[in-house]
Symmetry: C2
Subunit: 598 residues, 2 copies
């Protein structure tokens, strides 16, 4: 088994960083059995390690295959998907009303991490389906819900998000797919969509597309987009599948990675119009999509954590079996395991600490989403909603960047073997690269963070969040143990740097262009400050557990990881604040960007 | 044409950073026509853009194919290689005695950059051949030289470096290939080599392997390695090809990238022994390899520059044609070119500035190699040799890391299109990833820098080099123009940070383990300090050219690029010095590195 779900580390992060145990004890999730999280994590991790991980490499080699309008996934995948769905794994945080388990988003996040570590191409279908469930639950009318949600929640059918068109990627205002209302109240859609994940496959008997399209009399731009449900097969009132709808897969992309996840082009209405049902109000399609954005972006960020974790496990296993050279102080005439070389260990610790920080940020964002739904008071729910909005772009961008960087370091640990496709390290480097791109590029995330969150109506949550980070730094800094004391100091420095950069962004003389020019380094700075603060929080909890007599060596490991992250990575925070403050004026205008080639 | 050789930028870097015009004027390269460099660069750039670049994508798709012991390169490659060699391009800096042009290594470096930008898989064969020429010229006896060098210099035959074995990657002490002396003074080799670049192909009629092997009575470790010349076809005294030698390609690797560059496994002596000729003295094989290491590592680093340049050109071209969204201040109802978005421009400038810095470092290293050979006095030559030794690991590691990072940013500029294989952006991300690995991993480079260079016998060159960087900072800081003044300050800060970290490394209480633990961040710091200093040097020269009446807009661009690099990237130097000084103690021992999985 080449992936072993790090259940203990995940559970500790859920409890000690993301406050899951506390929230359960406080009754935020009803009468949920406090043993339930451990049980869920164990079982989801077992499925990941035993069933999904073994098919990951072959899935990459074979890939999804397209022929005559149909897509075939690798051998065995339909049975695996069926087993996964029948075990209830599609339903973790979905609403009980429609058959879901109704568990915290934090648990769904952790499960998704494990399945994605095991096989990213497999996990993407469920991510889309679950996102569609959220959208339908919030915006569809009762009849649509009753017809579709039980099947989608159970995973018997899957769903897609059909947004992108050739001219409309980051800019959905440019969507051209048209919808015309029919006499029976349904709509007929026509147009082309591209880059639609899992829009055709052989895992389930029906595929439900949520499609952004434009009515004839709609206003231009995003205010003229409506959301439609367009099933592959029409569904009778008794739930049976009827006629094939006029939506067709016209091809799949030849991609760098996630080869077994089909990325489809879809043609709507080539034969008279695809039948669609309106979800939400006309011209409110983008708002319907936005309501599910925090969770969708959280799950995307988690993909970065997941790839990083798998890359770390693979690299560590290699470093503990590959012998090369003699480490400092090793006996002569025997080559050392490469893990004994300090430079190799630095790389491994960098991978491990970055992964832990990314996980901590993602789980903190998941906690905010849970609390936005379940906190006791409206004020608490609103504050949590704002925190979720703040942490979501940070999670999506920082965790996805972490996935790419850690996967690249994983190749490096393997040396020449990392560059050949056999080891799987190369596959992760390829798979990871999509995550900073889709579900809003990381540049879009940075712009969202600065313009809608930091400078938006909920700006006060930023100060409150920085104050929380400072408190963690103060608490760690007050501890006599030198590593915790130093860690606390670095947390404080990073929080100060973030406060300084935030104040600069908020100064009234800033121009929009200046803000956009430094959005990316600001987001990175936020990620460093958040990462080191959450790891310090974990370290403080680990120390408390040890003081309470828990001698599990993982607690020493948690403290060591936080300390390494602080000393080797987070000390870069002040320099990033300086980049935010001083580099906007260094950015040339579009006209002067040239390569002076030839 | 999707690659246009940046001849003007390259020529300016050669003259203004690497002092080529000055050295030519001083007569260091004999009576070389001062028009020659421009001519060479133009013609090499033309070949790159017109002939090599167009076959790069197809080469990736088709790849090198192995069947029945032979390797076939993509259609058309033999003819292209023949045209390239017949134009004399294999011979740029090779010795005139054997048919070479005898031009400065700086020019060969620049040519190699352009060919590699155009088609990395193509350029790797010549890199190996030229390395072998260097080794033979320095160490082979006259008879071997006369038989092989004219053909290898002309590129009629190609060569390999056959070092790696399954158990001997970074650690050549573990080489097991055996050599036995025959009665006629030749040797019989037997053993397996892996990862041998261009060890079998259909571009040339003979392939000459330089093979590290061990004589029966040799001492263990690297002191028992000898270097042998083993041709694919034996060569008669009249230069005609004779019998097939007992060296066979047994397969090629399925790799992440450089698909058209065959990475071969070789079997020596399966049918009685491969006939080899000793190069240099017995048991001195590693020393023979080491003498060519600076140039080989320089050329490897240049591959990173080359991929980065191509990725930048591709991304810039995309950003100037792709429309998406509306930039700040753009008119309504029209989508903007994405280059108009500040965040996109920041990414492009990051790519451009990192590429320029990497190029400047590489050309500075090439200048040191030239001066080590051609400077007037023995003292000057020795100082230049030490500088070459210092800059070589920095070049190899920083430039190769730059290639990976810039190629990744290039994907990001393309959004979803970057993840599909059509654009070529994904190919560069794959191709680039080998460069930090081969020719000594970047970890090995960092260890070489710290243990053999900074703490080695030529340590004084470090202080002299830092002093040169400080002088550049002082000169820029003395200029009234605010950007140059600020640039000068950041150059000075980076030099101070490097000096501080260097002093820490040199403190007598350092343990070997501590030094190895921080070698990588030290190398990165060196790269930042060198990069910003060389770009500042270029900026000062650009200003002088403008003051002398040269109004070419490239000079403003040079200054803008240096300023951006300083404000957005090089300000990280003090934090890296802090990482060097404080993070060794944060590195856990091998026994405590665990993932605590399950």
């Amino acid at each position: 088994m080449d992936y072993i779900a790090p259940v203990k580390a995940i559970h500790l992060a859920l409890d000690d960083v993301a406050g899951l145990a506390d929230d359960l004890a406080a009754g935020l999730h009803g009468d949920l059995d406090h043993e339930m999280p451990a049980h869920i994590l164990e079982e989801a991790g077992r499925f990941a390690g035993e069933t999904l991980a073994p098919v990951d490499r072959e899935g990459d080699r074979v890939g999804a295959r397209f022929a005559n309008g149909t897509v075939t996934l690798p051998d065995g995948w339909p049975a695996i998907y069926k087993a996964w769905a029948e075990a209830g794994w599609n339903t973790v945080d979905l609403p009980p009303e429609w058959g879901g388990m109704g568990l915290p988003v934090r648990l769904a996040t952790a499960c998704m991490e494990m399945w994605t570590s095991a096989c990213m191409s497999f996990s993407l279908g469920p991510v889309l389906t679950q996102g569609a469930v959220d959208a339908l639950e919030l915006h569809a009318d009762r009849a649509l819900k009753e017809k579709y949600l039980p099947k989608l929640v159970a995973g018997e059918w899957t769903a897609t998000m059909a947004l992108t068109e050739p001219q409309a990627g980051s800019d959905l205002a440019a969507v051209r797919t048209r919808a015309v209302k029919a006499e029976d109240g349904t709509y007929r859609l026509s147009g082309q969509k591209i880059f639609i994940t899992y829009a055709e496959h052989d895992l389930a008997e029906n595929i439900v597309h949520l499609v952004l399209a434009r009515l004839a009399d709609a206003p231009p731009g995003t205010k003229g987009l409506s959301l439609f449900l367009v099933p592959k097969f029409l569904v009778g009132d008794d739930g049976t599948l009827g006629a094939r709808n006029d939506v067709w897969c016209t091809g799949i992309e030849d991609k760098l990675g996630i080869h077994a996840s089909p990325t489809c082009s879809l043609a709507f209405g080539d034969h008279g119009g695809a039948v669609g049902w309106l979800v939400g109000a006309e011209n409110r399609g983008l708002a319907c999509m936005f309501t599910m954005m925090n969770k969708a972006r959280l799950f995307t960020g988690v993909q970065g954590v997941a790839v990083a974790e798998r890359a770390y496990q693979r690299a560590l296993a290699y470093a503990k079996t590959r012998r090369q050279g003699r480490a400092a102080g090793a006996p002569p005439d025997q080559s050392s395991l490469i893990v004994a070389h300090a430079d190799v260990r630095r790389t491994l610790m960098t991978m491990k600490a970055m992964t832990a920080a990314a996980r901590a940020i993602a789980y903190a964002a998941a906690a905010a989403i849970d609390r936005a739904r379940h906190a006791r008071t409206a004020d608490e729910r609103e504050a949590a909603e704002r925190l979720a909005g703040l942490l979501t772009p940070v999670t999506k961008a920082c965790c996805s960047d972490t996935g790419v960087e850690v996967a690249s370091l994983g190749i490096q640990i393997h040396g020449g073997m990392g560059f050949v496709e056999d080891t799987g390290a190369a596959q992760q480097y390829r798979d990871a690269r999509i995550v900073p791109i889709y579900e809003g590029t990381n540049g879009i995330q940075a712009i969202d963070l600065v313009t809608r969150k930091i400078l938006g109506p909920g700006g006060a949550i930023t100060e409150a969040t920085i104050a929380v980070y400072r408190e963690v730094g103060t608490a760690a800094g007050a501890i006599a143990e030198p590593r915790l004391r130093l860690l606390g100091g670095i947390v404080g420095e990073a929080a100060d740097a973030l406060a300084q950069a935030t104040a600069w962004l908020r100064a009234p003389e800033r121009t929009p262009e200046e803000l956009l020019a430094v959005a990316t380094p600001y987001l990175r700075l936020f990620g460093l400050a958040a990462g080191v603060a959450y790891l310090a929080k974990a370290a403080l909890a680990a120390r408390a557990r040890r003081e309470a007599g828990d001698n599990d060596p993982i607690h020493a490991d948690t403290i060591a990881t936080a300390y390494f992250y602080a000393q080797a990575i987070a000390v870069g925070a002040p320099a990033l604040a300086r980049v935010v403050i001083a580099s906007a004026d260094a950015l040339p205008g579009p006209e002067s960007l040239s390569d002076f080639a030839a």
